[in-house]
């Protein structure tokens, strides 16, 4: 950790001015990621701008029938919010599948979007990493890559985005609202996070002098048919090997609308509109689900330790869709278990 100065701001415009003043300044909210990164010398900000007192911690209706989540609402407050639980249970479930209760109590919605990858090499300054030090190389490609991307990776980086919440946001087609020196703008979720390409050091399209103020959820929240399925190496406090956010609109047995987003497989939550479209107007059968799962993973490429993710993702897509149709929780109780059941 390096020496840094600290300032607290209570006004969004002031926060934007502060960040513009110093190229090595960073915002801090819940601090659940940046503090770790600072301790490991991965992030080396000389100035921290504390934004926890900005008035961005409300959840409120939007004029078009959606819901606005303040960027500084904690993940826990968001997941347990009545409106979110009732209208966007997919989001609630995804948030609760992530991290631990302690972390969710601190972490904010804006911060969740901006968390960095959990790639081993990114976190260890004793090793090369193109995301941490552009041009230094990517040891994961020929090294330890069991947790890494099978979709959308590049020869420069095969890291994955670690968030669960973001997978649900991608499926729900949320809008990320930001404010910068030029004013406000809205970024559709699909355009928020990036693939690594040859600039893996840039995770997303938020400008350096911009701040996330809110996340807007559209009116359609798929409360009747949804599933968030997370497959991981232990029951809690583990990042997804593969996760699936599935949301359906059903007309009897026929699928009228379908959303599928994958976590743990790419540098951003992975969606494939063409593959999703295969379900529209179709019957909710295992065969159709298998078909869309195959389509989703068509372009996938495995590395030495993560090829299993390709088949695992297909099985997880099918299971999630089945759950979304039936709205039963039988099969995934070990994946989402938060309490120990007495026998």
């Amino acid at each position: 950790m390096i020496n840094f100065s600290y300032v607290r701001t209570t006004d969004v415009s002031e926060a934007v001015r502060e960040i513009a003043l110093d190229p090595s300044a960073r915002f801090i909210a819940g601090g659940t990621n940046i503090i770790d990164l600072m301790k490991e010398n991965v992030a080396r900000p000389t100035r921290l701008i504390d934004i926890t007192r900005l008035p961005l911690n409300r959840i409120e209706d939007t004029p078009d029938g959606g819901l606005r989540l303040g960027a500084l609402c904690t993940n826990a407050d968001t997941a347990y919010d009545d409106q979110v639980q009732r209208r966007y249970p997919l989001l609630s479930k995804a948030i609760l599948a992530g991290a631990s209760a302690q972390l969710r109590n601190m972490a904010t919605n804006g911060g969740n979007l901006l968390q960095r990858t959990r790639c081993y090499y990114f976190y260890d300054t004793g090793t090369p990493c193109n995301k941490r030090e552009p041009g230094s190389g990517c040891p994961a490609i020929s090294g330890l890559n069991r947790l890494h991307a099978v979709l959308g990776a590049s020869e420069h980086c095969i890291a994955v985005h670690p968030s669960d919440m973001c997978v649900a946001l991608a499926a729900l087609q949320a809008i990320v609202r930001v404010q910068g020196p030029q004013g406000e703008r809205a970024i559709p979720y699909a355009e928020f996070q990036r693939l690594p390409g040859d600039t893996p050091q840039i995770d997303n399209n938020l400008g350096r002098e911009e701040i996330i103020t809110a996340i807007d959820l559209p009116a359609q929240g798929y409360p009747d048919h949804y599933a968030y399925l997370k497959v991981r190496d232990r029951t809690s406090y583990a990042f997804a090997l593969v996760s699936v956010a599935a949301a359906l609109e059903m007309d009897g047995d026929t699928i009228r609308d379908a959303r599928i987003a994958l976590g743990g497989v790419a540098h951003k939550p992975w969606r494939d509109n063409d593959a999703e479209a295969l379900l529209i107007g179709q019957a909710a059968t295992d065969q159709n689900f298998r078909c869309v799962a195959d389509a989703y993973m068509r372009g996938a490429r495995g590395y030495a330790h993560n090829t299993f993710k390709i088949e695992l993702a297909k099985l997880a897509i099918v299971r999630a869709l089945v759950q979304a149709v039936r709205m039963e929780r039988n099969g995934d109780k070990q994946l989402h278990r938060t309490t120990t059941e007495p026998r």
Partner: protein, 735 residues
């Protein structure tokens, strides 16, 4: 000895101190003028430091000194090659990634950490090897081999018996590197007293051992260095050896003439000892009835280039099974890593994983129930050395464990139980661990007010030693727990071995009893002389020490209080020191082991292969249980660690970089609460009059032995898939 505390599930006597923060750990002693050291670790695995530039670090205001191999004090020990052949900052050579190469000492820990990031190092690289698999051809018989195969002789002709066996099983089992990961990170607060003397508050499993290390390495005389480890936040073997922080903090304190603390970060906890990688080949041959005719067990573990680390992977089957033909080999191969270290049940956890997995496979090959196969080959004596057991209630462990678990209802066919998307499997295994006893001593001081102070230089790494020793002392003299204090973790106290090997209760317990017995005799002599005590003609066998009184057993109304006897004798205190050890002839005549039977139920997702352990029954035979509560906690912890060994734990190494990469608790998985479900611990009655006067064995390690095999066997039963490579992650089950 009347017994009102021994055998009772007493709460920990140190529990209150621990939960209130009154209990101080090594890094919590805030001595006057304390400076803070931070270790700079190497980023390459093998080579030399060409240049180390600490100029920028040293110029940070508040930085006191940057120690490197170039400017550190010269110690004669640097020139010696001995058992501690790695000393930090000895020279420019790099032996492993993460090696301490500099210590930055500053006024605050934050400054030291920051300045450490400014130290610039240039290396010349040499080719390294970190993959044990590629070193099979370079395996050799280890130099220091007291622990391993050579201590037990092969017997019969295993090769021929295997070839002719009606039922055969042969397979290779592998197990990754694991780190101990105690909750408390290693730390030393080296308190400088101004006269060249040092008190080291140290995380260690043995204060006397750390003291000896400092005497040897720095040339201290015994009265110049004291080591204190009053409380230790877990260790699992990682505190058996003096680690980097002890050496570096004392080095810095001597040169700066100031107190210095060095704490390892969690990441740096992965630069010290670990359970080695192992590759084991098992060959089992049996008759059609399941009777074992041949056991072949070959193990290879890694060591460092610095020294040979060995463990007993292959010695267990001969003590456990009645088999006429056994052949074993144990080899090590060098890789460019730090030296491995004993980790909870070293060798036992590793070796029994392979043996008990192979036994399960043999049971399927022979078409015999796995439990039946164990009973069929049950050994009534230790055929390793042809000795009777001091006690062995393993049969009872099998019976009670199976009953509690419901084993009799098991359908042996794999994939025969399913609930929704979950495949259910039941597996079992046997556990065995040595019941060791070493020489130990203790001092007991009874004061005029009836308070007893007992002390020994043993350690309590979280096991409950404080509590059980207090129980033993209180019972021996008939005092209340509240009137007895037990002190430990101080090199100035009467010598005792390190806390390890599950031998503390069996070693220090008898010493405590002997010291208290000596006090008891003196007290009794005093009591006899007290007028009207009614004890004038009594012998010590005739009296009971109960409730602070010495009274005739047949008529408790006759007697005297302890305080009264002390007053009569005009004594301020009675002090006795005693040593205790196992008589040599008993050690020669008997084999002494702890046994267990483990039954596990797993639930495996039929699609994804993810495994959870729904319940475990572990039935343990470990002699007399001094405190069922602390003993149960030890076995519970062992089982949880066994779940981790089976499903989660693995320190991943990047072979190209020669570096451990999962060096934090997000990436290095141990079971979380949600992974730990129903664990049932049974202690079966086992009387042992041989091992020590208390009849106690030890329970610190037995809980992990066999647990991983029981789980792996259950995974096979659930899925029909045999995973022979730990940990059993879902990709291995699913593909």
């Amino acid at each position: 000895m009347t017994s009102s505390y021994i055998g009772q599930p007493l709460n920990r006597v140190d529990g209150r101190a621990k939960v209130t923060g009154e209990a101080k750990y090594a890094a919590e002693y805030n001595v006057h003028g304390l400076a803070h050291g931070f270790i700079v670790s190497s980023t390459i695995a093998r080579g030399r430091i060409v240049r180390i530039d600490s100029g920028r670090a040293a110029s940070v205001p508040g930085v006191l000194r940057v120690f490197t191999h170039e400017n550190r004090e010269h110690l004669p020990s640097y020139d010696r090659d001995d058992e501690h052949s790695f000393l930090p900052l000895r020279d420019a050579k790099i032996h492993f990634s993460g090696q301490p190469i500099a210590l930055v000492v500053a006024e605050t820990s934050e400054l030291a950490r920051y300045a450490a990031s400014l130290v610039q190092v240039e290396y010349s690289h040499e080719p390294h090897v970190m993959d044990l698999n590629t070193r099979r051809g370079e395996a050799y018989d280890p130099k220091e081999d007291e622990d391993s195969a050579s201590s037990t002789k092969d017997r019969g002709d295993a090769q021929s018996a295997f070839t002719h066996a009606a039922v055969r099983h042969e397979a290779e089992y592998t197990h990754p590197c694991e780190h101990h990961n105690p909750m408390e990170m290693h730390a030393t607060t080296a308190a400088w007293h101004g006269d060249g003397k040092i008190t080291a508050y140290e995380k260690t499993q043995g204060a006397p051992r750390s003291q000896k290390y400092l005497m040897k390495v720095f040339g201290f005389k015994k009265d110049e260095v004291r080591v204190i480890a009053s409380y230790v936040g877990g260790a699992f073997g990682s505190g058996l050896r003096a680690e980097h922080q002890l050496f570096l903090s004392v080095l810095a304190a001597r040169e700066l003439a100031r107190s210095v603390r060095v704490t390892l970060t969690r990441q740096q906890m992965f630069t010290i000892g670990y359970r080695p990688w192992s590759i084991q080949r098992l060959k089992l041959g049996a008759g059609a009835d399941g009777a074992l005719h041949a056991i072949g067990h070959d193990a290879l573990t890694n060591t460092s280039r610095l020294e040979d680390y060995t463990e007993n992977d292959v010695g267990w089957s001969a003590a456990l099974y009645n088999c006429p033909n056994i052949k074993r080999s144990y080899k090590v191969a060098q890789i460019d890593c730090y030296t491995p270290a004993d980790m909870r049940a070293p060798g036992g956890a590793t070796g029994m994983y392979a043996i008990e997995s192979a036994m399960d496979e043999l049971a399927y090959a022979a078409g015999i129930d796995p439990l039946e196969l164990r009973l069929k080959n049950y050994s009534e004596k230790d055929l390793n050395e042809d000795k009777p057991f001091s006690s062995k209630q393993l049969r009872e462990c099998f019976r009670q464990g199976a009953q509690r678990f419901g084993w009799a209802k098991r359908n042996p066919a794999p994939r025969s139980m399913r609930e929704g998307n979950e495949l259910i499997g039941w597996g079992m295994a046997t556990g065995i661990w040595e019941a060791m006893r070493l020489k130990a001593s203790a001092r007991a001081v009874l004061t005029y007010d009836g308070k007893l102070d007992v002390a020994s230089a043993t350690t309590d790494i979280g096991t409950g030693t404080y509590t059980i020793m207090t129980q033993i002392a209180a019972d021996t003299l008939g005092l209340r727990i509240a009137d007895v204090t037990f002190r430990l973790g101080d090199s100035t106290l009467p010598p005792a071995p390190i806390q390890g090997g599950s031998f503390t209760a069996a070693s220090v317990g008898p010493a405590v009893k002997a010291a208290c017995d000596a006090v008891r005799e003196k007290l009794f002599k005093l009591a006899r002389n007290v007028p009207d005590s009614g004890l004038a003609n009594a012998k010590i066998e005739d009296v009971a020490f109960v409730d602070g009184r010495i009274a005739l057993a047949r008529d408790p109304s006759l007697g005297v209080t302890i305080v009264g006897a002390m007053r009569y004798g005009n004594l301020k205190q009675i002090e006795e020191v005693a040593k205790a050890e196992l008589a040599e002839d008993l050690e020669k005549r008997y084999a002494m082991y702890v046994h267990s039977a483990i039954f596990a139920e797993v639930r495996v997702d039929a699609d994804f292969g993810s495994v959870r352990v729904a319940r475990v029954v572990n039935a343990v035979a470990a002699g007399r249980i001094l405190n069922p509560k602390t003993a149960r906690s030890q076995v519970l912890g062992g089982v949880v660690m066994g779940i981790g060994m089976a499903l989660h734990e693995e320190t991943l190494a990047d072979h190209d970089l020669g570096r451990f990469m999962t060096h934090n608790f997000a990436d290095y998985h141990i079971p979380v609460n949600a992974d730990v479900q129903d664990i049932d611990v049974i202690f079966v009655d086992e009387r042992d009059d041989i091992i020590n006067p208390l009849g106690v064995k030890g329970v610190g390690e037995i809980g992990i032995v066999g647990t991983a095999a029981a789980i792996a066997n259950a995974v096979f039963h659930a899925t029909g898939k045999r995973v022979r490579d730990l940990p059993i992650t879902l990709d291995k089950v699913f593909t």
